[in-house]
């Protein structure tokens, strides 16, 4: 049930975007929020892996001219994905608990 770091970030990014989440906007969102560069190759791999685990679902948009007549692939988080995120978070919080003196308060 546990998902990895970049996987979590992607799932959260898609949730933040609500509508219009596709590779380009997801990457932009993650870079904006984390301030770190996200490699395209890694992003596509993660998207594919999350989809195969059933945490993301996708649908094809309609083609647009600025994309050379190619469609977008929009993603949304499935209930399973939300569940996985929650359980990851719980695990993390469990691990953090009791370390407030060292790490500060969990916000």
């Amino acid at each position: 049930m546990m998902v990895g770091g970049l996987e979590q970030m992607v799932l959260l990014g898609v949730l933040h975007l609500t509508e219009g989440a596709y590779a380009v906007t997801i990457r932009r969102e993650l870079e904006r929020r984390s301030g770190k560069r996200v490699s395209r190759g890694a992003l596509y791999t993660v998207l594919e892996r999350l989809e195969s685990k059933g945490y993301l679902a996708s649908r094809m948009g309609s083609p647009t001219p600025e994309r050379g007549g190619r469609p977008k692939r929009f993603y949304r988080v499935t209930p399973g994905g939300v569940k996985a995120l929650k359980s990851s978070k719980d695990t993390m919080v469990d691990l953090w608990r009791g370390l407030e003196s060292v790490l500060g308060k969990i916000s």
């Binding site: 380009v24 594919e48 600025e66 050379g68 190619r70 977008k72």
Partner: protein
């Protein structure tokens, strides 16, 4: 370019909607920057492929193979330094691509010139007359029939005769290239009919007028209508029945468009004094060419005894057909090209080796760390080799489109009328053999230039490397020396290539614009070939040509018009052995040769060839007056050594009349590869009327402007008679040196590639050395070095390299020039100006390439440089 990249990515990315969406994303973000579009696309494709592959492997419960891991690591390493990777791929691509393109040419033209079944059993029989330096003479009908009858080594022995034929009757009269063939010729050459049949071997056919068309002629002139088989056409004014169409692509010899039976009547069949047959034999299975040669030697020895007058000194050589059909000049030129491309590849490999060495040096620390952590040396070497393999595969992949373009360039570089004389031209293509060759070159390149740096990089002294690498100082002296030497070699090779191409271009220009012995400007030329049967009567020939020349002289814009049997630079020639009175040499084959020309009286004036002594021909030289001749200065000097030649006599056959010399003309350059004017003699057309003549017309204004008017004058004289090969004299000269021009063009492209590659080499080395010495430069600047000092420091090394490279290159170029001068018929002369100017160009380019990294050294900020450590 975009389309190509897109197409490649579409293949690499997951198929279907998923890949489409990724391409869309890339277009949206990077559509404006195709390079990055490609780079990122490729990275995504590779990551996804590995991801999918790993998932699959995991599912199968297998571990990812070591090779794939190496590949993945390799890919990371390769893309981590995109500049040097791009340089390596570009360099290898150019080197391998140029090599593949030229090898395709060599393969098609030399290694297997045309697709004829059992070509290894076909031999061409050439007459040899050692005393005259002749080794590829044609055969006389009498000799041919004797060889055929007396030899036992051949399955079939056949003969071909050149046939310039006029096609008339339907549409505009046209002059075609045809061939008379002896029985069995087409079968021996493996021709299958596309339609109808080929010529049958029975004697009846060989008395009849039948003809086989080439597929090309069938399409062009008859619209590909199968109904033409059985029809008759008018050739040279006679009716011929079309019995068949040859298979597509067959046009032997020399772009032949039709084939008719070679008819040797009893009188012709006995002749041994005229040599016009190309003889081809098909060896019986198991008989070698040497066996055939031995038997032919016996037969020719016998014929020499039996026919002393005509056959004395005449031998015979059997040459493999595949070798015989190759143009005499082309192997030399092709060899020069192949050598050149090998050098280009060598330069490319040096570049790659250098970059790999530099890379190895840069990664010394990383590699030592790996070793320190326990990685076996074999693993590191394997890892580095995989990386190199990736690089060379990328280079080879890039080379294929380049080779494709190159082959296209080579194929279209020659005009069609020249191409048809180059056997095998149609066969030039990028095929599997050539690709195999490329692959082999790639593997060799990788092994040779990847292994050494790999071994070297892995054999580091751990402590020293870690210490040295940690300090980031300049790399060890010996290593840098090795790389410097490589670049020096590269510069030297590039200069050699440049000079070689420069010399060829200079030689070509000299041939095109040099003194020809006449005035080639404002001259228009045509050729006319009257059918021999229709114009059997000499008087009819005189009549026809008189009407034509008189008519042409009336055309506005024409100053003068005259006839000659062949014109300079036309590619044709007539040569006779001459017998000078008082110096008779009994054996015909030992007599000196001279060019033979039949002309009309005003020819020298029309051509503006100076008359040095005596008189020109005039109306007083007629059929019924004494036979006369005008000799060229060379002829006069050779035969009479300074004595006044007028009034002297010579003859060009033992039965013929003595010709009295009435004048001496200036020398004329007939053909570039003869290097200099040859002894020539001229006789008046009225005394020796020929069927085939060329028309030279001196015009005011544009020479081509008279073409239509000339055609109508010829039609007036004989409506069935075509006129062909309409060219200005300048065009003739330029066409004559097409091959050379082409060679020079290809050479200069290769030379340019060499120049670019060596500049890249210098750039790469300097870039690397500047970046390695950032720390040192920073210290120097901090200690007060001026920008001039820094520049001197950075450029000093480049100067040394350039000077050393140029010096060695000049020596190599001199050797190459000597070699070319001896192989290319004196086209190439060693000219100091070419050497010097190209050395200056190369030096300038090389210093410019070094200047860019040197500027970077200037911008080093000491504070940053020192902190960076």
């Amino acid at each position: 370019m975009r389309e190509l990249v897109e197409a490649c990515l579409a293949r690499l990315l997951p198929a279907g909607a998923r890949g489409e969406a990724i391409l869309g994303d890339l277009t949206e973000e990077l559509g404006e920057r195709p390079f990055w579009y490609g780079v990122h696309g490729l990275r995504i494709a590779v990551r996804l492929t590995f991801f999918r592959r790993r998932r699959k492997v995991k599912k199968e419960g297998d571990r990812m193979s070591a090779f794939l891991r190496d590949l993945k690591l390799g890919f990371r390493a390769v893309t981590a330094s995109p500049t040097s990777t791009a340089i390596v791929v570009l360099t290898l691509g150019l080197g391998i691509g140029a090599n593949t393109a030229v090898f395709s040419l060599v393969d098609a033209l030399v290694l297997r010139p045309f697709p004829i079944p059992d070509i290894d059993r076909l031999v061409m029989l050439w007459g040899t007359v050692p005393a005259q330096g002749e080794d590829r003479d044609r055969a006389s009908p009498g000799d041919f029939l004797d060889w055929k009858e007396q030899s036992t080594v051949f399955e079939s022995l056949v003969a071909l005769e050149w046939w310039d034929v006029n096609l008339s009757g339907t549409g505009e009269p046209e002059r075609l290239q045809g061939t008379f063939v002896a029985p069995d010729t087409l079968e021996t050459l493996g021709v299958e009919p596309h339609l109808g049949r080929t010529l049958s071997a029975d004697a009846e056919e060989f008395g009849a007028r039948t003809v086989v068309l080439s597929y090309q002629l069938f399409q062009r002139r008859f619209g590909g209508d199968p109904a033409v088989v059985g029809e008759t056409i008018r050739l040279d004014g006679e009716q011929y029945e079309i019995v068949g169409v040859a298979r597509q692509g067959f046009d032997y010899p020399y772009g032949s468009e039709l084939w008719a039976p070679l008819w040797l009547d009893a009188k012709t069949a006995a002749r041994r004094d005229t040599h016009y047959l190309d003889v081809i034999g098909k060896l019986r299975p198991g008989v070698s060419r040497e066996d055939a040669q031995a038997e032919l030697d016996v037969i020719t020895a016998r014929l020499q005894k039996e026919h002393r007058v005509t056959n004395n000194g005449r031998g015979l050589q059997a040459v493999a057909l595949a070798r015989a059909v190759i143009d005499q000049g082309s192997p030399a030129i092709l060899a020069v090209w192949q050598a050149t491309t090998v050098f280009v590849l060598l330069i490319a490999c040096v570049n790659v080796a250098n970059l790999l060495l530099a890379r190895g040096a840069d990664r010394q620390k990383e590699l030592s760390l790996q070793q320190a952590l326990g990685a076996r040396r074999s693993i590191i070497v394997r890892q580095l080799l995989t990386e190199n393999l990736l690089l060379s595969v990328a280079g080879a992949a890039f080379a294929i489109p380049l080779a494709w373009v190159g082959i296209d360039f080579l194929r279209n570089g020659l005009p069609p009328e020249v191409q048809r004389f180059v056997v095998g031209w149609q066969e030039i293509n990028l095929d599997l053999r050539v690709l195999g060759f490329t692959a082999a070159v790639t593997v060799v390149t990788t092994l040779v230039f990847g292994l050494a740096p790999a071994l070297r990089a892995s054999r580091t002294d751990l402590t020293a490397a870690l210490r040295e690498g940690g300090r980031g100082g300049s790399e060890s002296r010996s290593r840098q020396k090795g790389r410097t030497l490589l670049v020096v070699g590269e510069v030297a090779l590039a200069l050699m290539l440049l000079v070689a191409s420069g010399l060829l271009i200079r030689g070509m220009l000299r041939l095109a614009n040099g003194d020809q012995g006449y005035d080639p400007d404002g001259l228009m030329t045509f050729e006319i070939a009257l059918p021999e049967r229709k114009y059997e009567e000499p008087e009819k020939r005189r009549q026809f040509y008189r009407t034509v020349t008189e008519g042409v002289r009336e055309i506005p814009g024409v100053i003068a018009a005259d006839l000659a049997i062949v014109l300079p630079s036309s590619g044709n020639n007539y040569t006779r052995s001459v017998d000078v009175e008082g110096q008779t040499i009994p054996n015909v084959s030992e007599r000196p040769l001279a060019h033979f020309r039949v002309i009309t009286p005003g020819y020298f004036e029309t051509m503006r060839i100076p008359l040095l002594a005596g008189r020109a021909f005039g109306s007083e030289d007629r059929e019924d007056t004494a036979p006369v001749a005008i000799v060229s200065r060379k002829f006069a000097e050779r035969s009479w050594r300074g004595a006044d030649p007028t009034g002297k006599r010579f003859r060009d056959s033992d039965e013929g009349p003595w010709l009295t010399v009435v004048g001496v003309s200036g020398d004329v350059l007939q053909d570039w590869f003869l290097q200099e004017p040859q002894p020539t003699y001229y006789v008046p057309f009225e005394q020796r009327p020929r069927v085939g003549m060329s028309l030279a017309i001196r015009t005011v204004g544009e020479p081509e402007a008279v073409t239509a008017a000339v055609r109508s004058q010829v039609r007036r004289a004989d409506p069935d008679q075509p006129i062909f090969h309409a060219r200005t004299m300048r065009q003739l000269i330029s066409e004559r040196i097409h091959g050379l021009k082409y060679a020079a063009l290809v050479m200069s492209v290769l030379g340019f590639i060499g120049l670019v590659l060596s500049a890249v080499g210098v750039y790469g080395l300097m870039m690397h050395s500047v970046s390695r010495r950032t720390h040192e430069i920073g210290v120097r600047v901090a200690l007060g070095a001026e920008s001039g000092d820094v520049l001197r420091l950075a450029l000093g090394q480049a100067l040394t390299i350039t000077f050393a490279g140029v010096a060695i290159g000049l020596v190599l170029a001199y050797a190459a020039g000597r070699l070319m001068a001896s192989n290319l018929f004196g086209v190439v002369r060693l000219e100091a100006a070419t050497f010097v100017s190209l050395a200056v160009v190369l030096g300038a380019v090389s210093l410019l390439a070094a200047y860019i990294p040197a500027r970077r050294a200037l911008s080093v900020d000491p504070a940053v440089a020192l902190r960076a450590e």
